[in-house]
Amino acid sequence: MAKRNFVKIEPDECKGCKVCVHACPKECLHIGSDINKIGYQYAKFEDKGCTACGLCFYVCPELGAITVYKNEEEEKEK
């Protein structure tokens, strides 16, 4: 199974502030059009060479919204 780096966003914990979007050096993050339970359009991940650097995790003001995986099997990504 291929291993790679990726980020999981908890849809209902994101407030769509876009701070992570601007922080990612690889432009892996964007705000999607879906609206979450608390009324925000939330961030989504699209792998464009994620290095698992964690910048998105650190800048994000929501404590549990972002989890960063390094060298993880793809099937866990969803």
Partner: protein, 470 residues
């Protein structure tokens, strides 16, 4: 593998507005959440979350205790460094983190932070400088920039009217004692990573008992700055960072402060305060049912509720027991509701708060209405039947009716009714007795001319109870 995830130092859910909630109460893009995450990560990595004591400020950070699975104290506005000083003096090994905004720390609390820093208290202070009062809706803070428009500076902050923005880090840097002072920024991801480093250092310093460590963090308040979170970070870089230099001011590595405070044993302390001699303590200590008696004395302001509470507490202490007294007033000077919580115990008291009293002493109907249901089953309710014309509805408690106000009028002073109630209480429960009441009473009255009539009131209580025992 998971490289970064919600740090363990946080609760699973943040139940401020009900169960299951996982988001913070902060506005989208607020700087507070980012700083929380950095602190939480440090506590988890250093494995000290269970030793951490957070000092919650007044300001948007007030709900910090909903997030961190650590101890916390909600401090009076700006007084966190004083509270933290006290905690460190008695719990040297705790990790005290004072988390304060610029209004809290730089405005109302400017004095506390200056003196705590000057004493070199072994504290970690995290100072969120967002150049505004966030929680109250965007008024000028001491750190608001010149020209910056806020609710209270609609034409922009003016040096001649409002003074210059306060550079707190520079101010503290004039002192000798602090070991670490750094200003960081959340304006860029790199700034966030440097903030992370500074926070870790400031916490590590406290662990190593080095002394006062201070991190000022330039943080966005998108809501009150009236910008998007992304624009707010840009504004922060282009304005706040220009006036507030982002740099390390001081990092005195390797210097240890002694951290040893003179310590006094309880007995010595009691002696010094002239409260009770240790030997009296053994002989007079009463056995209280369950080791603790919780009393609520309730009525109107002006009825002597508070003084009688203090009197009861002092009698218990004189008898060699532990006791606390906690007043609760309505806003009115006279006539509003008032109640005093008194705890008497054989051992140390955990909390002075009395939600479920063993004894309720009620002077008025509203007081009875409020507290009757809370009395512990098997407990006691003493009712001032002169002012309360209804019966107690509970059938699982002991009730004693005494026309205290009538008796007081007969003695010659209506205000002694509360003392009469206390005299009755002493005789029913036997935890304190009327002799000790008479002994302590003169010391607790501010006016000597009332001593005699109050002593007569206790006599009246004795006589009434002799004729009408429970």
């Amino acid at each position: 593998m998971i490289k970064h995830q919600k740090p363990e130092a946080f609760y699973d859910t943040f139940e401020r507005k009900g169960p299951g909630q996982k988001t913070t109460h902060y506005c989208p893009g607020c700087g507070h959440g980012t700083v929380h995450k950095l602190i939480g990560e440090a506590l988890s990595d250093f494995d000290i979350a269970d030793k951490a004591v957070f000092l919650a400020p007044v300001g948007c950070g007030v709900f910090i205790y909903y997030y961190f699975n650590s101890a916390s104290i909600q401090c009076a506005h700006g007084r966190a460094p004083a509270t933290g000083t006290a905690i460190k003096r008695v719990h040297d090994d705790s990790i005290v983190i004072s988390y304060q905004g610029d209004g809290d720390l730089g405005g109302i609390g400017a004095s506390e932070i200056v003196h705590a820093a000057n004493r070199g208290e072994n504290l970690t202070v995290i100072f969120i400088n967002n150049a505004i009062y966030g929680m109250t809706g965007g008024q000028m803070a001491p750190t608001t920039l010149l020209g910056q428009k806020t609710k209270t500076t609609p034409f922009g902050r003016d040096k001649d009217i409002d003074g210059m923005p306060l550079r707190i880090s520079e101010l503290l840097n004039t002192m000798e004692a602090p070991v670490f002072i750094e200003r960081t920024t959340l304006g860029t991801p790199k700034g966030v990573m440097n903030t992370r480093k500074a926070i870790r250092k400031a916490i590590q310093n406290q662990k190593d008992k080095k002394g006062f460590s201070f991190v000022e963090i330039l943080a966005p308040c998108p809501i009150n700055w009236k910008m998007t979170p992304v624009d707010a970070r840009k504004w922060l870089r282009e304005n706040l960072e220009k006036f507030y230099e982002v740099k390390n001011f001081r990092d005195k590595d390797g210097e240890k402060q002694s951290g040893k405070y003179p310590w006094m044993e309880n007995a010595e302390l009691l002696e010094l305060l002239d409260i009770v001699k240790e030997k009296d303590k053994q002989t007079t200590r009463k056995t209280i049912k369950n080791g603790e008696e919780k009393v609520k004395i309730a009525g109107f302001g002006g009825q002597g509720i508070m003084s009688v509470g203090v009197l009861l507490s002092n009698c218990a202490i004189k008898k060699g027991m532990e006791s606390t007294w906690l007043p609760s007033y309505g806003p009115e000077m006279r006539g509003g509701t008032a109640n005093a919580s008194v705890v008497i115990a054989e051992e140390q008291i955990g909390t002075p708060v009395v939600d479920y009293p063993d004894t309720l002493i009620t002077m008025t109907i509203p007081a009875l209405n409020t507290f009757e249901k809370n009395v512990n089953p098997g407990g006691l309710i003493i009712v001032n039947s002169s002012l309360i014309n209804r019966k107690v509805q509970r059938d699982d408690v002991n009730v004693y009716y005494v026309p205290a106000t009538e008796l007081a009028n007969k003695v010659g002073l209506t205000a002694t009714a509360a003392v009469i109630m206390l005299g009755i209480y002493a005789q029913i429960k036997g935890i304190i007795d009327t002799d000790i009441l008479k002994l302590i009473l003169p010391q607790s009255l501010s006016k000597a001319k009332y001593v005699e009539i109050n002593l007569k009131a206790i006599d009246a209580a004795e006589e009434y109870y002799k004729n009408n025992p429970l």
